[in-house]
Symmetry: D2
Subunit: 357 residues, 4 copies
């Protein structure tokens, strides 16, 4: 039995408690929050749960195996490092940290502590996202050319972070997961219209090796909600529309080929368009957060590396940070220094763990 | 009666002849094409039409008032200058020219000749586009914050021009028309996937004064067709979806306001979201090209400046040129030198003409 | 303070308890169910709630003002009559009863007891439905011609009642509420495909005075879910699509007029089609069940007649019964005997109560 | 070379001429219309075409193999019989005739004359409709349970025929083609709202053997256009939406099974819902009328029976006639007398011809 302590009983904490309560082999032992008023309803709903305003109580309990951090991003560093140093495995809500330096520090600490570090990029546990990943891995799309994603709606603005840090973690984590690689360069354009300094609209470009490109449009200022991502490959193409009730993923057996009929003259080039069937595969009906919680427990129990491990969390933060910097410097291209392999044990980022997927 | 000569009997020429034939007060007298095979069916369909392989025949006929140029863009310069110098009014298909320098030369020639020069940006005569313009002019949207436009589909690739020159003229002309001003800076990212040098995907950013921004996504490589433009204003917002059969324009009575409850502390900021009615106004049922043709005839007859005059055509070409340059230089921001007022008579660009709208 | 007892702790009971708990001036005092296992979680969630397996305990408590019945339809008669005779006001889940005779008996008992009887036709408290009612009452649609409604999806089949009794109560209650009158004739066609006797597909026609017609298609066998109702009036038309996230109600300023240019000859008839703006009005964001619960409490407190009173419940049951009968007799038209005015106090159906709306 | 004469140069005639002109092996030799003004533009457009106001000129020309009748339905009988008796093959626009008796007479005449008789039910040559037929024939849907079709829009009213005769021929011909059998019973409900006697809204039910049912809703009074047909089978289900630009046909791998766990008790019944992939197959990009024209020419040349032969045309007219009768008698069920096998040569209806499909 894995015993967990959840820190943070605000909006997301209760969802985590509810889902972990349904994972076989897991038990939520503690919930911690500075605000006692948030603890009371949880105490009555989960009679076996210990509630406390001091998270050290949980860290000092040797029965506790893992800590789940669902607090504002500014507190992630202290809480995560304390927990890892207390020998606990850690699940941190996204984004891992507010700067890539801090994110790096947390990930390094996890590796040194040989503890599981997982970041709550819930979309990576969404059946639609994993179905597209499966299509890519099986080569169904061919070589990926580019990805275009729109995540726009009216509100809800944040007062402390801009729209990139609020909405783009989803797209960035999905895109890096699908492509299985990290961008070389990031740039962004955007503006703040309703509040100084807090940009509410942004257009982000990620450039990868081999001319692969991704574009992300995020906005809190759009009248009609969009959650739409297109993946264009050399063989087939995918549209993932999270607002569709039934057909969230569509695989288009469509493509373009350029035939060079004659090497000498351009005039003899010919393009062939293939417009074929559209397949919308059945998706599992599961709550992504439930899958995420079960995955965390499984990684602890079996010594596996989470799909959204610390390195994945660092990579997302690097992109968000670079995009914000680029946006504030008028769209200047930011080169991402390649993340060095942390040590000889592999590129996975966690010490003795092995890949979960 | 205005007598016209149409040069170019390829794909678009016959549409122009058909539409001009239905404009009261206009008569198509000549159609010119180097390829006699293209002239034959037009001759049989329009018995009063003179067909010729030599356009000078039309230029030399004093009865001809105006010339309509529907030929490849590389020929626009010679044909337009010849026609203007022969004292003819000119309608040129979009884009006006392949470089801003040439576009400038044609527009200057029109001004000096005191002839009407109009560019065939047909979307500016589309009832949906003019309805949105009307909403903006009447202040219904408030201050415009940003515009986001997607024009993507599978094919049809061009072999001689990239996707920016092929698809973006529509979005650029619409955006400049709606905003009534020109961008200060242009940048773009894009790639060619199916043919060297001919980019088939691009993301373009236009920056205007006062933080107004426009973003355009064009692609020949997208599995599902999109023709969708969002205009976000401080009071209301519009989505124009050209693929909708009935409700192409939707006006959202939605917005965001930030109240500063207390000047000292950020914590007391409060945002108010307004989500109100959605109105889809009735649009006139007319063929935009028909409106365009009638507008050209009206401008000639009444000495008015066309809505899509030479200066508008130059502005579009400048943006397309800058976007392509930026894309090829890795997204570098290109400053657009402000277009000097051509002469003391005004910024309109045509000598003695007065504004049509 | 109105004290309530909820009978039935299955699927719907907990929703009723949750919503009544949020209505000012109301308190749920009892929850009754034969199955103790269903009572336990409610006891821990609502510490002040008395749970019991014997509903007479609640009926005998003079503090209890009203009883809410959320049990299978076969039990409605006994429970409702017992509660009314014990002097309690009653809210019964839809449908009021399994036969019109029983429904009549319950409604009569309520009138004689001078108690509030309300039926849980929740859609009548849905903001989209009340917005359309408001449009009709304000004469915006003109004279109503016909209503067409589709409520189809895959499953969930019931084993004891057919698709008419399962899905059509929604459409029938909405249509009677909008039209404010009862049908003269009912007919239906349908079949059972996956289980004997339990029809899973039906097409129902309601005929009202003055050629007004309504058609309802219900199915458990349709691959794509539909919740779509069209109201055609002489002036304007409405489509209410409950699956639309944002624009559930659309008012079309469209219509047809036939001009008789000449009384003698048909040839001079001319039809004029008006296709105008489409307006999607903002709807209140409320949970319909919450509005229903507040309405019940208000009717008890202020002696008002509920919008979905016993007579409305009887009328719905009469239509469902007639439709099933017609379907089983090959679509024979069933005349509905006009419901006699229950007594001299009015047509409202409840003794001393006055209309709530 | 098959030589054709087209009678009727109104709305549809020119489409027929244009399409037949593109069919290899066919030549339109004559076009006939009482109105000389309609002939003139066709003469100039098709220089080799003989135009005449007297169709007997074409019937008397031994070079003419076939006659295409695109005139009002009231003239079909005389024109078709004259043409067949003159030894010509005949293509008649839908519906074949205004009464089933007349339709029968024309079909019988064709059989006796051993000429090809084809009815212009163009939808049967639509790639979406033939794709669904192919799915049904290959057993992909299993046993067909029911079909539900909506064909509604605002206008265009006819002054001489009701909405059943105007719109339902499409649905009826499609449904009979897909099912490959004829209904036993027909009933309909409907009303006329904007003009006496000419019903503008109708709901039609077709009952076939083995509990198979079809329902058709047609209206000229609906604010939003619908062209949507659902086919529910025991294995899979199809939605054909003709207004979809790209995905007109969707095959849902969904279904319901009822397991009888215990033969004794109902309580142990269990339903299993299968919700699987959705496949939208690629459809050929062809003009259905072009396919229809080519099919007619092929049938003449190769002595084949058209897919929409005289018997198919008779069957459609019988349903339309019965539906109108039922509607005018308050929805009374009309039994369709089974169509007798016309002669010993087979059920196909044409004398020496063999099945085309």
């Amino acid at each position: 039995m894995i015993h967990l302590a959840v820190i943070g009983a605000g909006y997301w904490g209760p969802n985590l408690i509810r889902n972990f309560s349904q994972v076989p082999g897991a038990r939520v032992a503690y919930v911690c929050d500075l605000d006692a008023a948030k603890l009371a309803p949880l105490a009555s709903q989960y009679p076996t749960l210990t509630t406390t305003r001091d998270y050290n109580e949980a860290l000092n309990d040797p029965k506790v195996d893992a800590v789940v951090i669902a607090t504002p991003v500014s507190t992630h560093r202290k809480l995560a490092l304390d927990a890892l140093r207390a020998g606990k495995h850690v699940l941190v809500e996204k984004p891992l940290a507010g700067t890539s330096e801090t994110a790096r520090e947390i990930a390094d600490c996890a590796r040194e502590s040989e503890r599981v570090l997982m970041v709550g990029h819930t979309f990576i546990y969404n059946p639609a996202v994993t179905k597209v990943k499966e299509m890519i891995e099986r080569g169904m799309l061919g070589e990926i050319y580019y990805i275009d994603s729109s995540r726009v709606n009216l509100g809800l603005h944040q007062f402390d972070i801009n729209v990139i840090w609020d909405l783009a973690p989803h797209d960035v984590s999905i895109i890096l997961y699908w492509l299985g690689k990290r961008p070389l360069r990031v740039s962004a354009r955007g503006n703040s219209y309703t509040q100084d300094q807090i940009e509410d609209v942004a257009f982000i470009t990620l450039e990868f090796a081999d001319k692969v490109m991704a574009h992300i449009h995020v906005s809190w200022m759009s009248p009609a909600k969009l959650r739409r991502t297109t993946v264009v490959g050399s063989k087939q193409m995918v549209v993932y529309d999270d607002l569709e009730a039934m057909e969230k993923v569509k695989l288009y057996d469509s493509g373009v080929e350029t035939l060079k009929l004659n090497q000498e003259t351009r005039a003899e080039l010919q393009r062939i368009y293939r417009v074929g069937d559209v397949l919308s595969p059945r998706l599992d009906v599961v709550e992504p957060l439930r899958v995420e919680c079960a995955h965390f427990v499984e990684c602890i129990r079996d010594g596996k590396i989470p799909r959204t491990n610390g390195e994945a969390g660092v990579a997302v933060v690097q992109v968000l940070e670079a995009a914000t910097q680029s946006m504030r410097e008028g769209g200047r291209t930011i080169d991402l220094t390649p993340v060095p392999s942390p040590d000889v044990k592999g590129t996975s980022g966690e010490g003795r763990l092995r890949d979960a997927d």
